[in-house]
Amino acid sequence: VQNLQEIPRLILVFFELGFSAFGGVTSTLPQLQHIAVTQRHWITSQQFVDVYALGQATPGPGSMMVIGIGYIVAGVPGGMAALLAMLVPVAMLTYLVGSQWDRLQNWRWRPPVEHGVIPVTVGLLLAGSFTLIHNTATDWVGAFVVLAAAGLFLTRRVNPVLIIILGGIAGYLTSRL
C-alpha cells in the first residue's frame, strides 16, 4: 500500500533521526522502532526485524534499512526520501566541521590532538569488531567463519569481495547440514 502523503512525515522523522544518532544509527534503533511500528503504524514489528536483516545484507554503510521502511510506506520515492533526509543535512554539517578542522592545520595543539585521539579510535575499531563478532558468531561454525575471513583478509592476497561471497556460501551450506 503506497501512501505518498506520508512522505513529508517520513522526511521529518528521518531528518530528526540523523541528528539524534550519536555513535552510529544503531543507537537510534529503539527510537525508530517506536515511531515506525508503535506510533505511526508504518510497518509491523516483524517487518522491522526483516528490513533490518535486509539492510545488514546490503553493501554500503550500515544504515540501508531506512530505505526499506520508506519503501514499505511510500514505494521508491519513500525509500529515497527516508535515506536522503537522514543523510544529506547531517552530511552538510560534517562537511563544515571537516573544513573548519582543516583550517586549524597550523594550530600549536594540533599534534597532541591528532596523536591523542588516534589510539582512542583504534580502541573503538577493536571494540566494534569485538561486538560484531560477539553478536554474530554464536556457535563454533560461526567462530570458524569469522577466523577464516580475518585470516584470509590479513594475508592481503584475497579480495575482500571474494571473502564475503565465501562467507555467504558457508552460511548456506552449514544451514543444510
Binding site: A21, A91, I133, I164
Partner: protein, 202 residues
C-alpha cells in the same frame, strides 16, 4: 585549500567516484573502514592512514551514520565539496539500488527465511574482515606506551562497559591530548639553547 597532506596525491573526481562505487558495492556490514584503508591508503596513497583514523574519530563524534560521515570527510579530502558529494553518492548508490530491489521482492513475497543463512554467512565474513583490519591497524598504530594505555581503555569502555561512544571519544580524547601535551608546538620562538646543546652531547 590544503585538504591533502603533501605526501598524498589528489585523484580526479571521476577517479574518486569510480573507486568509491566499487567500494560501495563491495563493502558489506562494517567493512567500510577496511576498504577505505586498503583502497585509498595502501593501494593508491590518496590519503594517509593517520588522516583516515582522524576522520574515523570525527565521524564518531558527529551525529548521523558513522559510515556516511566518514564518506563525507574522506570525499572532502579527495576533492573538496564535489568530492564529498560524489563520494556520498558513490558509496550509497549501489547499496540503495539493491535495498530498493530487495524491499520490493520482500514486500512481494513477504518472507525472508530462505535467505537468512546466507545473510548470516555474509555478516560473519564481514565481521572477520573488520576484525582483521582493526588488528592490523592496532599493530601499526599502538607503538608507544601512551598509545598502548589509551587503546585498551577505549576498547574496554565500549566493548565491556558499554559506555556511550560519544562520551568516550570526548573524555578519552581529552586524556589522550593530555598524555601527548609535550608535542604541543612551542610558541613562535627559536629553540632555547640548552636543548640544542643537549642534543649535541647525546
Amino acid at each position: 585549500m590544503t585538504a591533502a597532506a603533501p605526501e598524498t596525491q589528489r585523484p580526479s573526481l571521476a577517479q574518486t567516484i569510480r573507486v568509491l562505487l566499487v567500494i560501495g558495492a563491495a563493502s558489506f556490514g562494517q567493512s567500510l573502514n577496511a576498504y577505505f584503508q586498503r583502497e585509498l591508503c595502501d593501494k593508491r596513497g590518496w590519503i594517509t592512514e593517520d588522516q583516515l583514523l582522524e576522520d574515523i574519530s570525527i565521524a564518531h563524534v558527529l551525529p548521523g551514520a558513522v559510515g556516511g560521515n566518514l564518506t563525507v570527510l574522506v570525499g572532502r579530502r579527495l576533492g573538496g565539496a564535489p568530492g564529498a558529494a560524489g563520494a556520498l553518492a558513490a558509496i550509497y548508490g549501489p547499496g540503495a539500488m539493491l535495498m530498493l530491489i530487495a524491499s520490493a521482492l520482500y514486500l512481494a513475497s513477504g518472507r525472508l527465511e530462505a535467505f537468512e543463512s546466507i545473510f548470516r554467512g555474509l555478516a560473519l565474513a564481514a565481521a572477520g574482515i573488520a576484525a582483521g583490519n582493526s588488528l592490523s591497524i592496532a599493530g601499526r598504530e599502538v607503538r608507544t606506551w601512551r598509545a598502548a594505555a589509551l587503546a585498551p581503555l577505549a576498547f574496554v569502555a565500549v566493548a565491556i562497559l558499554h559506555i556511550d561512544i560519544f562520551l568516550i571519544v570526548l573524555l578519552l580524547g581529552a586524556f589522550g591530548i593530555f598524555l601527548f601535551r609535550d608535542e604541543c608546538e612551542p610558541k613562535k620562538r627559536s629553540l632555547p639553547l640548552p636543548t640544542a646543546a643537549k642534543l649535541k652531547t647525546s
